[in-house]
C-alpha cells in the first residue's frame, strides 16, 4: 500500500514539476504578494520610524508663531514638513497642484495674521480669530487625516497657551488691584475659573480653528465615507477576476475538444475570439452595475455627479479586465498555469494599484510603480468621479490609459494565442 502511495505521489510530483510555468507561478505568487503587501503597508507599520507622513505647509504668517508650530510638527518623527518644493517656497496654488497631481495628500496653509491673533492684547475689545486651511485630497481616508488634525489641534492649543498666558496673567493682576471691591473680585475669580475650565481660550470660540477644504476645481460636498473609499477598490479587484473565468473557459474548451469543433466551423478567428470575449465583458459590466448600484442603494454611497463619466470608466475598466483575460489565455498552457498566473497577476496588480491599501500611504517609489497597473488608473478614475466630484472630461485621460492597457493586453494575447 505504501508503495502505491509513493508511486502516486511520485507521479503527481513529476507531473507538477514538468509544468515549469505552473511551478514558477506557484512559488512566485506568494512571494510577490509578500513583497508588494509588505511595501504597500510599510506606511502604516513604520510611521514614526523611517516613513514619516509628508505634510505640505504654506506659511503666509507675518510673525513667528506659524514657524514655531511647523518646527514642532517637523520635530515629531511621524511628520516631515515640506515648506518648499524644488527649491521654491510653497504657495497655496503649488500645494493644491501637488495634491491634484497625486504627489501629496494634505497641505496646511497658515494665514498672514496667525501670529497677530495669538499675540493679541487680551484687553482688546474685539477678539480676533483666524483659520488654518487644511487642504485635503477628498480621496484620502479619514483614518489618515483625523490623527494629523488631532495632532495639529493639540499643538495649536499649546502654542496659544504659550503665547497668551503671560499677557493674560498680567491682565488679571491689573484687573485685581487692591482697591477692587469684593463683589468685583468674586466676579474676576469666576472669570478666571471659567477661563481655566474651558482651556486658556476661556470657553469662547478658539482663536485658531482648522478649516478643511479641497483643492480648487474639486467639488466635494461631503467627505468620503468608508464605502466611497472601499467600494471602488474592491469592485476593481472583483472585476479583474473575470480573467480567471475567461482564460479558464478557453483552456477548458481546448481540453474538451469543443475548441477544435469551433475551429472547423465557418467562422473567422476574429469572430471566434470576439464571441469568447463578449460574454465576459458583459458579465464585467453587470458586476460593476451591481456593485456600484447596490452600494448606492444599500449604503447611500454617492455616485458623484457624472453618470456619463461612470459609464465611460466602467466600459474602459471592463475592457481592460477582459483584455487581461485574453492575455492570460494566450500565455497559459495549462489550467494550473491559468489559476496560478491569475492569482499572481491579480493580487500583485490589486495590491500595487491600491485596491487593498490606499496608494497614498505607500512609499513614493511604490506609488509610482503602481502606475504600471490598470487597477491604479481605474481606481483613481472612479475616485475622481465618486469622491472628488469630477466629470466626464476630467476622467477621459484615465479612460484613455485604461483603453491603452486593454489594447495592449488584447494585442499581446491574440499574438500569443494558439488556435489549435
Amino acid at each position: 500500500m505504501l508503495k502505491q502511495i509513493l508511486a502516486l505521489t511520485w507521479k503527481d510530483l513529476k507531473i507538477f514539476f514538468k509544468d515549469l510555468g505552473g511551478v514558477a507561478v506557484i512559488f512566485l505568487q506568494p512571494f510577490m504578494f509578500i513583497v508588494v503587501m509588505s511595501y504597500a503597508l510599510s506606511g502604516l507599520f513604520e510611521v514614526g520610524e523611517d516613513q514619516p507622513i509628508q505634510l505640505l505647509a504654506v506659511n503666509q504668517d507675518q510673525g513667528t508663531q506659524a514657524a514655531a508650530v511647523l518646527r514642532q510638527l517637523d520635530e515629531m518623527e511621524a511628520f516631515q514638513v515640506e515648506t518648499t518644493w524644488e527649491g521654491q517656497p510653497l504657495t497655496r496654488e503649488m500645494a493644491e497642484k501637488l495634491i491634484v497631481d497625486g504627489k501629496r495628500n494634505l497641505a496646511l496653509v497658515f494665514p498672514p495674521d496667525f501670529s497677530a491673533v495669538l499675540e493679541q492684547d487680551p484687553a482688546a475689545e474685539e477678539r480676533q480669530t483666524t483659520k488654518i486651511l487644511v487642504i485635503v485630497d477628498p480621496a484620502t481616508s479619514s483614518q489618515f487625516v483625523e490623527p494629523i488634525l488631532g495632532t495639529l489641534q493639540g499643538l495649536l492649543e499649546r502654542t496659544t497657551y504659550t503665547a497668551m498666558m503671560p499677557k493674560g496673567i498680567d491682565y488679571f493682576f491689573e484687573r485685581l488691584a487692591p482697591q477692587t471691591p469684593p463683589e468685583q473680585r468674586e466676579e474676576f475669580k469666576a472669570q478666571a475659573q471659567e477661563a481655566m475650565s474651558g482651556g486658556l481660550l476661556g470657553g469662547q470660540e478658539p482663536l485658531v480653528t482648522l478649516e478643511r477644504t479641497v483643492p480648487a476645481g474639486m467639488q466635494v460636498e461631503e467627505y468620503p465615507d468608508t464605502f466611497q473609499q472601499n467600494v471602488p477598490g474592491y469592485t476593481i479587484y472583483g472585476i479583474f477576476w473575470i480573467v480567471s473565468l475567461l482564460a479558464g473557459s478557453v483552456l477548458q474548451e481546448k481540453r474538451e475538444g469543443t475548441f477544435r469543433r469551433l475551429l472547423v466551423a465557418p467562422m473567422s478567428r476574429t469572430v471566434m475570439l470576439a464571441g469568447k470575449l463578449l460574454p465576459y465583458y458583459l458579465i464585467n459590466l453587470l458586476q460593476l452595475a451591481i456593485m456600484l448600484g447596490a452600494s448606492s442603494l444599500l449604503f447611500g454611497m454617492s455616485l458623484g455627479h457624472s453618470p456619463a463619466g461612470l459609464v465611460a470608466v466602467s466600459l474602459a475598466a471592463a475592457a481592460t479586465a477582459t483584455g487581461l483575460g485574453v492575455l492570460v489565455a494566450g500565455l497559459a498552457r495549462t489550467e494550473a498555469q491559468v489559476g496560478g498566473l491569475t492569482v499572481l497577476v491579480l493580487l500583485t496588480f490589486s495590491a500595487l494599484g491600491g485596491c487593498f491599501v490606499p496608494r497614498f500611504i505607500m512609499p513614493a517609489w511604490l506609488r509610482t510603480a503602481g502606475l504600471v497597473t490598470p487597477h491604479a488608473w481605474a481606481l483613481d478614475a472612479y475616485q475622481d468621479l465618486l469622491v472628488r466630484g469630477y466629470g466626464l472630461l476630467d476622467v477621459l485621460p484615465k479612460v484613455g490609459v485604461l483603453a491603452a492597457f486593454a489594447g495592449l493586453f488584447f494585442g499581446i494575447g491574440v499574438w500569443r494565442f494558439r488556435f489549435e
Binding site: 474538451e256 475538444g257 469543443t258 477544435r260 475551429l263 472547423v264 466551423a265 465557418p266 467562422m267
Partner: protein
C-alpha cells in the same frame, strides 16, 4: 461512376522534427465510406485534422469537393461535418442547447434550426433526452450526441475520428447503424479507427496506415485477400526449417512458404486443411512443432502481416 470528393496527393505533415504523415495519397469517392485503419500514432488523426481545416499541410495537395486546402478553407468548412475523438460537447448544457449552439454557428435559425435539431436527435435516438444536461448522459449517449453535433448543418462530407472509443457494444452497434443510414442518404464519410471489425463492417474501402505511411489501400475484401486463406507461423527445430521447406511448399493448400526469424511463414489458400497437412507432414518426418500460430484472414491479420505489429500495440 461517382466523382471524387476528397483528393490527397503526397501529403506531408511534420511536428518539429517528427514526421507524422509521410507522403500519403488517396482519394475518396462521393457517397463512399472510406476508412483509415491504423494503431494510435499512425497519422490518421493528423490526416483527418488537415482535411478538417484544423492543420495546414507542410507538403502535398489536398482538394475537397474541388476546393484546394488550406487556401479555400472558407468554402470547404460549410461542406464538412467533424466529429472529433473527444466528446466535444458542453456538459452543463442540454442536448438541445448544444445542438442549437452548433446549428447557430453554421447559420441555422428559427424553424429550420428546430427542424434540424429534431431530425438529428431522432437520428441518434436521443429525442426523449433532448432537455437533459449532457453531463447526465451515459458514455454511449454522449458519443451519439457528439455525432449529432457534427451533422446538424447537413454536411456533404462527414469526418468521424474514432467515434466508438470507450463505447459499450450496444451503443457501438447503434452508431454503426447511424453511419450506415448516413451512407444510404448519400453522405461521404471518412472514418478513422483502430478497430478492424468496424472498418470491415462499415467501409467501402480501407487504407491501412502505420508510422505516417499508407501500407495498403483496397476494399476490406481485397485487403483480406492479401492473406489468401490465412497465414500459419510454425516454429520448428533449426535444421528442420530448411529440410522441410520443399515438402511444405508442395502441400496442396500452401501458396508460399519461407523461413523467417527462426520460424516458417506459410501463406495458404485455406488455413484449416493446410494446417492438417502440415501436422501430418511433421508427424511423418518426426519433427516436433515448437510453436504454432494461425492468422485468420481479417484486417487485423493483414495489419500484422504488413507491419509485424498488432493494431492495438
Amino acid at each position: 461512376m461517382p466523382s471524387s470528393m476528397i483528393e490527397i496527393n503526397r501529403l506531408v505533415k511534420k511536428y518539429g522534427d517528427r514526421v507524422a504523415v509521410r507522403g500519403v495519397s488517396f482519394s475518396v469517392l462521393e457517397g463512399e465510406i472510406f476508412g483509415l485503419l491504423g494503431p494510435n500514432g499512425a497519422g490518421k488523426t493528423t490526416t483527418l485534422s488537415i482535411l478538417a481545416t484544423l492543420l495546414a499541410p507542410d507538403e502535398g495537395q489536398v482538394t475537397i469537393a474541388g476546393h484546394d486546402l488550406p487556401r479555400d478553407a472558407d468554402r470547404v468548412k460549410p461542406l464538412i461535418g467533424f466529429v472529433p475523438q473527444e466528446l466535444a460537447l458542453y456538459a452543463t448544457l442540454s442536448a438541445w442547447d448544444n445542438l442549437a449552439f452548433f446549428g447557430r454557428i453554421y447559420g441555422l435559425r428559427g424553424p429550420a434550426l428546430r427542424e434540424r435539431i429534431a431530425a438529428v436527435l431522432d437520428l441518434v435516438g436521443l429525442s426523449e433526452r433532448a432537455g437533459d444536461d449532457v453531463q447526465t448522459f451515459s458514455g454511449g449517449m454522449k458519443r451519439r450526441l457528439n455525432i449529432a453535433a457534427g451533422l446538424i448543418h447537413q454536411p456533404r462530407i462527414l469526418f468521424l475520428d474514432e467515434p466508438t472509443v470507450g463505447v459499450d457494444p450496444q451503443s457501438r452497434n447503434f452508431i454503426f447503424e447511424h453511419v450506415e443510414r448516413l451512407k444510404a442518404e448519400g453522405m461521404t464519410i471518412l472514418y478513422t479507427t483502430h478497430y478492424m471489425e468496424e472498418a470491415e463492417r462499415l467501409c467501402d474501402r480501407v487504407a491501412i496506415m502505420d508510422e505516417g505511411h499508407i501500407l495498403a489501400l483496397d476494399t476490406p475484401k481485397g485487403l483480406i485477400g492479401l492473406l489468401g486463406g490465412g497465414v500459419i507461423y510454425v516454429g520448428l527445430p533449426g535444421d528442420a526449417l530448411e529440410t522441410l521447406l520443399p515438402a511444405i511448399r508442395a502441400l496442396s493448400h500452401v501458396l508460399t512458404a519461407s523461413a523467417q526469424d527462426g520460424q516458417l511463414k506459410i501463406e495458404t489458400s485455406d488455413a484449416r486443411p493446410a494446417l492438417l497437412e502440415l501436422i501430418e507432414l511433421c508427424n511423418a518426418r518426426d519433427v516436433p512443432i515448437l510453436s504454432l500460430e494461425v492468422l485468420e484472414p481479417n484486417l487485423e491479420s493483414v495489419f500484422l502481416h504488413l507491419t509485424g505489429k498488432r493494431l492495438r500495440d
